[in-house]
């Protein structure tokens, strides 16, 4: 087999990714933070921090707690608002040779729409990830992602104004994630991105207080991988559009598991904190796996789990 011809490219909607390895929103800043460690242009894509219409200060500190094989965060969508993104941040990152997705969030359908409209104007941003699943904000956020009607309302409204690739990021804090995936597929999502963090909590027994200022926060990291994998698998059975899978991916083996379960692309989140160069290792590891298993085209791995 001619290994120089390994095909790692995948597609979501009409958009081609040079490989399926992306970095997850909120865990990779806007990219420059990682320039010392990796070649950003080697990534399949990056999803920048959750962006809202107006600037947000986010929640008070403490915002982070460590848990067994995972962490809680309660950042609460701190960001400088879509205008600062467009005018100050975008110019600094627009020349990256990778697919930059903006993670769009809001408290009302209108906010989502207005933010997406602004992002639609940016030439070098080929897509958005509609975040209807943030557990760390009082209004909107996760609430949109936990019922079909509200998920449909946001997705449908944004679809009217956003013309490029739109993936919808689902909340895992639901009884039936496949139903919600089907609902947003029906109103025009180009892809589904999952999972966001699981609503969780940490208490300090000594101080008898919640560790996070917000009491609850979002759980991420390897602890949640088995849940994420199950949800990706369930959604892959339910929809025809591609999936960006994530949740606890620490290495290339994890990434391949998500692809076998049905993900077309994968996103690396918390692992970036533990090893800022992990994304490069995941790409290398996927290539090694393909060689070892004589796989020429990575697309044959997608949903390629064999029956028991």
């Amino acid at each position: 087999m001619n290994t120089s011809k390994l095909k790692l490219a995948v597609k979501i909607g009409n958009l081609e990714f040079k490989n399926p390895v992306m970095t997850a929103s909120g865990t990779f800043g806007y990219g420059p933070e990682f320039e010392d460690f990796i070649d950003i242009n080697r990534l399949g894509g990056i999803v920048v921090k959750g962006t809202t219409l107006n600037a947000r200060e986010g929640n008070n500190y403490p915002r982070m707690a460590e848990t067994p094989s995972g962490m809680l965060n309660a950042v609460g969508l701190q960001n400088k608002g879509v205008d600062v993104f467009c005018n100050e941040i975008y110019p600094r990152i627009q020349d990256y040779k990778t697919n930059i997705f903006v993670n769009v969030s809001g408290s009302t359908v209108e906010e989502y729409v207005k933010t997406a409209e602004r992002i639609n104007e940016l030439e070098h941003i080929p897509g958005i990830e509609l975040n209807i699943s943030c557990p760390n904000v009082k209004e909107g956020g996760m609430a949109f992602g936990t019922s079909c009607p509200s998920a449909v309302a946001v997705t449908h409204a944004v679809r009217q104004v956003y013309k490029k690739t739109m993936v919808v990021k689902l909340s895992p804090n639901v009884t039936n994630i496949a139903d919600i995936a089907k609902a947003v597929e029906a109103v025009g999502a180009d892809g589904i991105s999952l999972i966001n963090t699981l609503l969780a909590m940490a208490i300090n027994a000594e101080t008898r207080r919640a560790v996070l200022s917000t009491t609850t926060g979002g759980l991420s990291g390897p602890a949640i991988k088995p849940i994420a994998l199950r949800m990706v698998w369930q959604v892959a059975q339910a929809v025809k559009i591609p999936i960006m899978g994530m949740g606890g991916i620490m290495n290339s083996t994890d990434a391949i598991e998500f692809m076998l379960a049905g993900a077309t692309a994968i996103q690396i989140g918390t692992a970036n904190f533990i090893d800022p160069s992990v994304s490069m290792k995941v790409i290398d590891g996927i290539e090694d796996y393909m060689k070892r298993h004589h796989i020429q085209d990575i697309n044959s791995l997608i949903g390629g789990m064999l029956q028991q």
């Binding site: 865990t27 933070e33 986010g58 500190y61 915002r63 965060n73 533990i274």
Partner: protein
Amino acid sequence: MTTTYAKKHVNLLNIIENKKINTQYFILKVQAPHDISNLLPGQFVNILVADTRHAFLRRPISIYDIHPQERTIDLLIQVVGEGTHLLSKLKAGEQVDILYPLGKSFSLLESGKIALLVGGGVGIAPLLFLAKKLYRKGVDVHILLGGKGSNNIIETKNFEKYGKVYIATEDGSQGERGLLTQHSILRKSDFDMIYSCGPDAMMRAVANIAAKHTIECEVSLENMMACGIGSCLCCVTPTKSGHQCVCSDGPVFNTKTLEWNK
């Protein structure tokens, strides 16, 4: 003055020595594969403890001292939980995964100025390297160290190389008896800058004293960190210009900029 910071690395560093100071403290000496002369006082490193269930994320540790010729970095560490306990067991010859250098440094006074460094407990960690740099610039360095008892007063010999050392212990076993913030040296008002690191309450008290004497004051803050490089926004502290990241906008902040009561 804008400081240019060194490129960040993530590397397996060789452990040259792990020196136990007492049951609570140890100094880990690690060797970098390349030049470290551009590391600055106040900066820190982020150590991957090991793949244990209890220490999943890296542990932020200040740069205690550097030896550019040997390319070694000293880290002064207090055992407080599982992570630091595991670090205390590392041995010379082993390796440890370190992300460095992180954060912004203290601002360095010019020659002829007078500095007071105030360190409580393991808060002395970022101050030795600072004392050394200031001393070498010709600053007149005064160092106030404090702790519960003489067990918490460590490394004074090292500090004495760079300035005059004052000590406060709560039990009076060494230096003046009482809280560090009650030490007589803090009644003097001729310092050009007070640098401080230690428990939150201590730094606030020091900042108040500095403000009363209208002395500039820089503190090195702690916070729960996930990434250490400004990408996760987990480690914010409220400032006059909104939430700022302790890991990348700090850990050193001029107390004027902080909104400590938010």
